[in-house]
Symmetry: C2
Subunit: 403 residues, 2 copies
Amino acid sequence: MINRNPNIANIKAGYLFPEIAKRRREFAAANPDAKIISLGIGNTTEPILPHTNAGLLGGASALADVKTYSGYADDSAGFTKLREKIAAAFYKDLVEPDEVFVSDGAKCDIGRLQLLFGAEVKVAVQDPSYPVYVDGSVLAGAAGGWEGSGYAGITYLPCTAENNFFPNLDLIPQNSLIYFCSPNNPTGATADRAQLTALVNAAISKGCIIIFDAAYSEFIRDPALPKSIYEIENAKICAIEVNSFSKPAGFTGVRLGWSIVPKALKYASGESVNTDWNRVNNTIFNGASNIAQAGGLAAIDEKGLEEMRALTDFYLGNAKLIRSTLQEMGINCIGGDNSPYIWAHFPGRDSWEVFSEILEKCQVVTTPGAGFGPAGQSFVRFSAFGHRENVEEACRRLKSNFI
Amino acid sequence: MINRNPNIANIKAGYLFPEIAKRRREFAAANPDAKIISLGIGNTTEPILPHTNAGLLGGASALADVKTYSGYADDSAGFTKLREKIAAAFYKDLVEPDEVFVSDGAKCDIGRLQLLFGAEVKVAVQDPSYPVYVDGSVLAGAAGGWEGSGYAGITYLPCTAENNFFPNLDLIPQNSLIYFCSPNNPTGATADRAQLTALVNAAISKGCIIIFDAAYSEFIRDPALPKSIYEIENAKICAIEVNSFSKPAGFTGVRLGWSIVPKALKYASGESVNTDWNRVNNTIFNGASNIAQAGGLAAIDEKGLEEMRALTDFYLGNAKLIRSTLQEMGINCIGGDNSPYIWAHFPGRDSWEVFSEILEKCQVVTTPGAGFGPAGQSFVRFSAFGHRENVEEACRRLKSNFI
């Protein structure tokens, strides 16, 4: 008989969001009349806007005509034109098209990226953080054993109210892979230029590589905040960036993202990470859907970028409502200004307990902070993804029912 | 500094198809007037037929309307309706919907499946075989060192003219993961019921798990040949199946496939492989595109299945032309009857040399057999994916220019 990969046995609990969905279903079954509103999972709710949608439709139509039909590409890295447009639209002169790798989304890229560094690499993560950084490291065998509140092989970098949700960089081990997300999921904190400069300098001096998750960069409204790690000097020798069309274009179900792996990024041996990334993707991935890529082309031309702005403005409007409601209730929170997440503090309380209380009293689904790591305890994440009337109703219920 | 994953350094040469594309580009640059015809990579060329395409268009249109918009699913395994329809259309009563996992394609599934078994599992592959089985095992650290013509940790099961392209099952090691593809890529050989029964019995008696790649099953025309491993008794306790919409529906660029992981399949520990597969997918994958899934629903209703039949008939017509041309030329070959590949034998010759000779004399791109494993030496694979007029022209050139 064949053994189970011990790395799978090493993953703790179920993946966070299916667990929340399960608890929601159980609550709904027990309370069939409840009108549940989800401010839990960060899932888009608003339709794709017309110009971008026309791109998707055009991509699908092209496949019905022998003159415009396309199958596999020679290379999994995506349409050359899309790689060029991503480099131009989001990175100006900072990134070359052959440093852009189109994919089926940031989560999938993060799963594959860990393959570049194998089971021996040390891993550091912001705490709290998106569960895939840790779970992906566990699957790759890089996490070490579970020790009650975390993995022995992972360095958790607490991001708390005390440090203004930016970690103490002195905690980062030498030669480690640093997962860093800004605007942050779940805290909503967005690192400023000085903080990111300190991060890049720390990575270079310690021989680290940063995997910079910029999936929420299009929500940044403060022009002083960097949207890409490559706006920081020398980042190209120490950082990979992942990003996605999911949230700004409403593509969560369409599946389209990208990664940037600079040609200047090297392993200890001097070999090119960019070359390996191409090899890994061509080996176990076959490229993003050509329909999704056609949509991506539309999403980042002039009209598409206007639609992206309108869609992110809409969700930021929700975020403002949630944030001001919580503030009126006297609940401390951050985020929601340059990000679609609001991170609310319930000092001294268990976050799953707060999750349950909000669900029961308000029929509103949130995400318990402890699901994102030990430092998430006593926090709850509110997602700004929802229809306006639902967000307004959720805010009314919070104010009237949650004391 | 961070080290390169040693498993990546362990992959030999570039991935086969980019290498062929590179040689083709070099030939084209040196011979700018040559009208090159590709019978190399198995890439679809014919448009998606109207009913199936309407499904894709409907999927894209739905995203523009708030009433039908969808984002992520709660679970990465795909639309419930699509899982049900796949179970009904291709497996009758053999498989349950919750044993079906919708994906972005067979290649990607194969990359993720290896994660279930980790670096310690022994691997056996048909030789020749689709490169991803071996390369995926190398990436997972399960292949051992390179030993000149193969990896120390992989058992190669030669499929040659002498054994009628079905391997000697006695060579399969105890407790190994067996990659088995039928109709086979590249040989085109399709295993019959007796052969698959012997394979299943061997797997059970040796404690093995089969990963059965059925990506070409819709090309089977002989009603006596099984299209799924689950048509064989007891396969559900020893086999995973992967399959794809790529070839039968023209979805190579759309990205839609599925895997079957039976609930009866267990590790040595008795734990469920199905449960782990769901966990792995939810951790590092986010589901197939909802547009592709809408197309998949159309592709397997009554009209869609008729279109699948028409499309596979067309490519089988190409295959017949290629096969009869080679036979008229006195070249021994198999495949092309229940599969879109023809495997042509050039005894005593190097397959890259034959590849080059055909490219130079006929301006026809093929795939050298050695790219699929040591036993592929002296063979060349012809793919039947192409426009009819190109296949006819390629056949004319082969007959007149290749002596």
